[in-house]
């Protein structure tokens, strides 16, 4: 059974559970026999047990899938962080080149003075 099918089943069972309890309320309000009420109650307990088991299973699966996806997203984030660092590095390099040119100019000026 796929996760999506399990989720569909959960929706059906939970809807059914609310209806069953509503039926129990109506039966009580119409003063139905204790036997009828007991039958509804037994079904309600069984249904609730099934729903709880299904919920536990779905939550446990989800936690596993989420942890796996988180690892993949984290790895993508590391790649993006590297890209950002590279670009910041490129801006720094451009600034460093201009600074270096400044030193070269000084050297050229000094050389020019010496050759006069």
């Amino acid at each position: 059974m796929t996760i999506s099918e399990k989720n569909e089943l959960l929706d059906n069972l939970s809807t059914h559970y609310t209806r069953l309890n509503y039926l129990k309320i109506l039966a009580e309000e119409k003063n139905s026999s204790p036997d009828v009420l007991a039958q509804i109650e037994r079904r309600k307990i069984r249904l609730k047990t099934e729903i709880d088991m299904l919920l536990k299973d779905l939550y446990a699966n989800w936690i596993g899938d989420a942890a796996q996806l988180k690892t993949s997203v984290d790895s993508g984030n590391q790649g993006l962080n590297r890209c950002i660092a590279d670009i910041e590095g490129d801006v720094n390099v451009a600034q460093k080149i201009v600074e270096a040119l400044d030193y070269v100019d000084e050297v050229i000026n000094l050389a020019g003075d010496l050759l006069k």
Binding site: A60, W62, D65, K70, I87, V91
Partner: protein, 307 residues
């Protein structure tokens, strides 16, 4: 010759400066709606946890088969612990923690996209300063080399050179962004699918535990004399409101998460063409705004019910 060279380079570089910077606005919108969706699912999850826990207390304490040992935690080595038959609300607690980790990772991704697309990374000021510094250098060098260039030509050359550096970095940034969006599209789709899956689980959980929540109110109603049922009526109306609010939030969170993959794909279009029609982003934004209103109401109703 040198004079011609200056002019040629300057004209050539300035001719290709038509490459526009990335507009960060769609990335900011995407980032803010991702946060709204994450808050929306968190708030529904919080109500779900409260209901399931109180539902467990109600059914466990009323079940004659319940034993005290079922409530006792087994303590293991160091920080480990377990329960022989853990209640569902504990599984919800673990899910909340896993959801928080996943949302944090995805929110960080959306933040990084904003950073990579934003003006802070390639500031115009930095390149203006580069042009000024280069201009000073070029003037000094031209004098030393006896190059016959006018100050206006040197200024044009410096501006062109710094623009070339900016363009190089801007192109690299756009390439990195497009690459990141393409590589992560699959993860975004999985994130959307997984969150919708969780929304469906919460929906089934809340429908079931709505019954568990109203049963004590119903019992109190039945036990109270006919003319003294105001407290139970108010409690039931508050619960109904909380339930319908929660379903409304879940429905809207589902719409929002469904819109995330298309909006993410639209971000690539926004890089290529600032004026392109970003329908996916627009849908995501509208959905995020509706969601914000709904979960604010839900949080308020939840707080009121705890008073």
């Amino acid at each position: 010759m040198n004079r011609k060279w200056f002019i040629c380079i300057s004209v050539l570089v300035l001719a290709v400066t038509g490459c526009a910077s990335v507009d960060p606005k769609p990335f900011v919108t995407f980032n803010s709606v991702v946060k709204e969706a994450s808050t929306g699912i968190d708030s529904a999850m919080a109500v779900n946890y409260d209901w399931t826990r109180s539902g467990f207390i109600e059914s466990f304490s009323n079940d004659p088969k319940s034993t005290f040992s079922q409530l006792v935690i087994q303590v293991g080595d160091k920080y480990s612990w377990w329960m022989d038959k853990p209640a569902i609300y504990l599984e919800i607690k673990r899910t909340q923690s896993a959801l928080c980790d996943l949302n944090n990772a995805f929110t960080e991704y959306a933040n990084l996209l904003v950073k990579l697309s934003g003006g802070e990374l390639i500031k115009a000021d930095t390149f203006d300063q580069l042009a000024k510094d280069l201009n000073r250098n070029a003037s000094d060098a031209a004098k030393a080399l006896k190059v016959p260039a006018t100050p206006a030509e040197l200024s044009l050359f410096s501006k062109a050179a710094s623009e070339a550096a900016r363009l190089y970095i801007e192109n690299k940034r756009q390439g990195d962004l497009i690459d990141a969006l393409r590589k992560n599209q699959d993860n975004v789709q999985k994130y959307s699918d997984l969150c919708i899956e969780l929304i469906h689980i919460i929906r089934g959980n809340m429908k079931t535990y709505y019954v568990e929540k109203y049963e004590p109110i119903r019992k109190a109603w039945n036990a109270a004399p006919g003319e003294k049922r105001q407290k139970q009526t108010e409690a039931m109306l508050a619960l109904d409101e909380q339930f319908t609010n929660a379903l409304g939030v879940l429905e809207q969170v589902e719409v929002t998460y469904s819109a995330i993959p298309k909006a993410h794909a639209d971000l690539s279009k926004a890089i290529k063409d600032n004026k392109s029609d970003l329908e996916g982003i627009q849908q995501l934004y509208s959905s995020g705004m509706r969601l914000q209103r709904l979960y604010t109401e839900l949080k308020k109703a939840n707080l009121d019910s705890q008073k």
